[in-house]
């Protein structure tokens, strides 16, 4: 009904601009609209109807419809609805009005489409290269279907360097990254610093592209991709694999058996447990409190062991298939899991009490890295960052998947919007996760693990899935395709949106607070950098010898 209501609202307001609509179930709405009306429609959805912006996706649909496809995805969290607003653009010279003036959160997504698919966005507020490597030639778009997955553009300029913006007057530049001991992953913030105060920054990321999405639509098949999806991230891999599988199941209208759903839920929550414990530890490490860092990791370790016992691996569980899961949780593992949870709860409670009482930690985190409700809306911030600002969203409750509609849990919120609130939210969410796993263990009944799928999956259907990763909503979009593989698969990891909120968080505070502010979103650069270019640096024409490299770094001259 909700989907129908929203569609009627759009039809009343925009009439002929709404071309087609598809309402496969009450949680999804796909609307095809006139390109000329896209800006007004998005402004109406985002502004008047207060939808949350998720992501924009560009698709090269020329081999099938002769057109390019761009969709802007929105969520109505309170009403459990995901909306795709789609436009078809001509094959020659595709152009579309940018929505960034009304929806600032679309900044990166539109730049990515411009880089990867080659759709120009007119009136974009900051149309700079985002994803492609520095030397990549203009006009070559790797996600187009006529670009092979293993192709290397001939005129790649090895020597070309990224052009950074000019820092504002009176500021010096402090490079933060590409490698920094607290990041552990490559990302580059150029901080504009005045004394010890950060006045602004420029971000250059996307440095470890692994071509995952391109591989999925050209080399892998439906059931290979969950394994690949799981390797997007070393922390929330299971989230990506479940989200992908659910997106395909959503597109093909498949419902996995209940036991499979419970197992997925349990593994997702185990993953959240270890991720939150890891994060609290790292946050303490960043502010120089190594004792809590070590204790947190000690408490976390049994969670890794039980994951290994259940799945055969500490991480990368190899869990999902389309229509089910690959393995069961045995009675023995269930008993052990319960014991681990009891111990974890008993140990985590005093640690949280210690953290919550510690004035020293509060001194370093209160009022730091603030993102309030307005900032969350503007930049599309999600997960603990949004919940810490009092934005009550959680995909597990708002867009229920797996077995989350059959368990009871609270969505933890806080209202400070600062790093401290994020610590509190994550620390308390651990208890909810423990409860969820216990309920799943109670309610799980014997039954099949997989659905026998007899036929080929239908072609050209769209599927969406939002999964609440430890860091926020992980959103997957799939168009089913021929040859047993999707035509397009787009992963929007939570860090993709949360990272866009960081410049506002670190502005006008000290450099010392930069790491903990950035750390507080629990950035996952490997998730964000999942994109589809080939690492040219490693296989390109010039190969550096070790000696040359050493000479380069020591003398600063090539």
């Amino acid at each position: 009904m909700i989907a129908r209501d929203k569609l009627n609202l759009l039809k009343d307001k925009f009439g002929p601009a709404i071309l087609r609509a598809d309402l496969p179930d009450d949680g999804r709405l796909f609307v095809s609209v006139e390109p000329s009306a896209i800006r007004d429609i998005c402004r109406y959805l985002f502004g008047d109807l207060d939808a949350r912006y998720i992501i924009s996706i560009g698709v090269d649909d020329r081999p099938f419809s002769g057109k390019f496809l761009v969709t802007h995805n929105f969520a109505f969290d309170a009403e459990k609805l995901l909306v795709c607003v789609m436009v078809h653009l001509p094959a020659e010279n595709p152009k579309l009005d940018s929505i960034t003036r009304d929806v600032p959160a679309a900044n990166w997504a539109e730049r990515e489409i411009r880089d990867m698919v080659g759709v120009e966005f007119e009136g974009h507020c900051y149309p700079k290269r985002l994803v492609l490597p520095d030397g990549w030639p203009d006009g070559v778009h790797p996600l187009r279907k006529d670009f092979a997955w293993n192709e290397v553009p001939k005129d790649f300029e090895e020597e070309r360097e990224f052009e950074f913006d000019e820092p504002p007057a009176g500021c010096t530049v402090v490079p933060f990254g590409p490698f920094h001991p607290t990041l552990d992953e490559p990302a580059h913030f150029r901080l504009y610093v005045e004394g010890e105060m950060v006045r602004g920054c420029e971000y250059r990321g996307f440095m470890v592209h692994r071509g995952i999405e391109k591989l999925a639509e050209s080399v892998l098949n439906y059931n290979d991709i969950p394994m690949m999806a799981e390797r997007i991230c070393g922390i929330c891999g299971c989230v990506h694999s479940v989200a992908y599988v659910q997106a395909v199941e959503n597109a093909a209208a498949i419902k996995p058996p209940p036991r499979a759903e419970y197992i997925r839920t349990i593994m997702l929550e185990i993953e959240r447990l270890h991720s939150h414990l890891l994060w609290v530890g790292l946050a303490c490490h960043i502010v120089g409190f190594d004792t809590l860092f070590m204790q947190s990791f000690r408490i976390r370790e049994p969670v890794m062991w039980i994951a290994e016992k259940i799945s055969g691996n500490r991480k990368t569980y190899g869990l999902c298939l389309i229509g089910g899961v690959r393995w069961d949780i045995t009675a023995e593992s269930r008993a052990e899991l319960r014991a681990v949870l009891d111990k974890l709860e008993a140990e985590w409670r005093p640690l949280v009490a210690a953290v919550l009482k510690d004035r020293n930690i509060q001194k370093r985190t209160r009022g730091i890295g603030i993102a309030d409700k307005t900032a969350c809306k503007r930049s599309g911030l999600i997960g603990p960052v949004a919940r810490a600002a009092g934005v009550d969203i959680d995909c597990r409750r708002d867009h229920p998947y797996a077995a989350y509609d059959r368990v009871r849990f609270d969505v933890i919120t806080s209202d400070g919007g600062d790093v401290w609130s994020r610590v509190v939210v994550r620390a308390k969410e651990v208890f909810e996760s423990i409860e969820i796993i216990r309920q799943c263990l109670d309610k799980m009944e014997p039954g099949p693990l997989q659905l026998g799928i007899e036929d080929e999956l239908p072609v050209g259907r769209l599927g969406l899935s939002s999964v609440e990763a430890p860091r926020g909503e992980s959103h997957h979009f799939v168009i089913t395709g021929e040859n047993n593989r999707p035509r397009r698969w787009r992963v929007r990891a939570p860090t993709y949106q949360n990272l866009q909120g960081v410049p506002a968080m670190i502005k006008d505070q000290q450099i010392a607070d930069m790491t903990i502010s950035l750390g507080s979103i629990d950035p996952c650069f490997s998730c964000t950098d999942r994109l589809e270019t080939i690492d040219l640096k490693s296989g390109a024409t010039k190969i550096w010898t070790e000696g040359e490299l050493l000479k380069l770094v020591r003398t600063k001259k090539a």
Partner: protein, 305 residues
């Protein structure tokens, strides 16, 4: 007094300092590990670390290698000079040669060396670290000077053996001495550059700051100087504020002294393991408060309390 004796005593102290500094570092690391539910490295690990670093390639990646070399040698040399001016179980070796004013100067110089190392390296993070070190020094150095001067005021002498023998309590009612004891206890972590005041190095923020561009033997010397500093400051603290037992017969007195140093190192470890790092502005506010108390104590000392 024969002129040879101070020199021999000084050399003995320097050797002793070089010998025990890594051991106390090992104690510190082992205890930290225990607090963190870890096993920790062997207690001799600090010796191996130094040997390993000494044997490694020396990469001169900073802006002014010559200055860097100078800064490194100077920082270790300063700490070793301090060893001649501080009682370490025995009376001060260079007693007749130097006085408390020189001690204060050399202590300040050891801080300046870190600055020099940071500025000579010249990378962004080194500079941030050096500027933090400078701010800390400005707020911190007066504290020790005030403590020494209070002792001098009470005893009416700048002689090292007089001042460095619990002289702060020499007044009839040692109000100023007790105030300074509190101030020094609260700021001791900062003097030995441990959490919560490891601000100028802050690995997770500015990647070891001034030390960033140093590797191999140079890093070893800087680390050695740092380890030795912990002992020097502990010894100074014991001499100024906890001199009891120094009059005991030779070996017993020596043992009591090192037991006190060990206790102090354990205290440092405990505090470091249970606190998050301060931000530089928070630390400065904190030091400013302590400085106020210290100056008040100085005034009291002037009136004979």
């Amino acid at each position: 007094m024969k002129p040879l004796l101070p020199i021999l005593g000084g050399i003995a102290n320097v050797l002793l300092l070089l010998l025990v500094a890594p051991f106390f570092q090992g104690v510190l690391r082992t205890v930290t590990a225990r607090i963190q539910s870890r096993k920790g490295p062997p207690i001799w690990q600090a010796y191996f670390d130094l040997l390993k670093l000494l044997g490694k390639e020396d990469i001169e990646s900073g802006e002014t290698p010559l200055m860097q070399r100078f800064a490194v040698y100077l920082s270790l040399a300063t700490v070793l000079t301090l060893a001649c001016l501080v009682p370490m179980g025995f009376p001060v070796p260079m007693n007749g040669v130097a006085d408390a004013i020189l001690l204060i100067y050399v202590l300040t110089l050891s801080g300046v060396c870190t600055l020099l190392a940071g500025f000579a390296a010249g990378s962004t993070y080194s500079l941030v670290g050096a500027s933090r070190e400078m701010l800390t020094m400005i707020a911190l150095e007066p504290l020790f000077a005030v403590a020494v001067v209070i002792g001098a005021v009470h005893t009416g002498s700048f002689r090292l053996d007089t001042v460095l023998n619990g002289s702060v309590y020499a007044a009839g009612v040692p109000v100023s001495g007790i105030l300074m004891l509190g101030v020094m206890l609260l700021s001791f972590q900062a003097f030995v550059q441990r959490a919560p005041f490891d601000i100028s190095e802050a690995e997770t923020e500015i990647m070891e700051g001034p030390l960033m561009e140093y590797s191999g033997p140079k890093l070893a010397l800087l680390k050695y100087a740092q380890m030795a500093k912990l002992i020097i400051y502990s010894a100074l603290f014991v001499a100024l504020f906890a001199p009891w037992g120094s009059g005991l017969p030779f070996f017993l007195g020596w043992l009591v002294f090192w037991a006190k140093v060990c206790l102090l190192v354990l205290l440092v470890t405990l505090v470091a393991a249970t606190h998050a790092r301060f931000r530089i502005d928070q630390a400065l506010r904190y030091f400013a408060g302590l400085l106020g108390v210290a100056l008040f104590a100085l005034v009291l000392a002037g009136y004979g309390y």
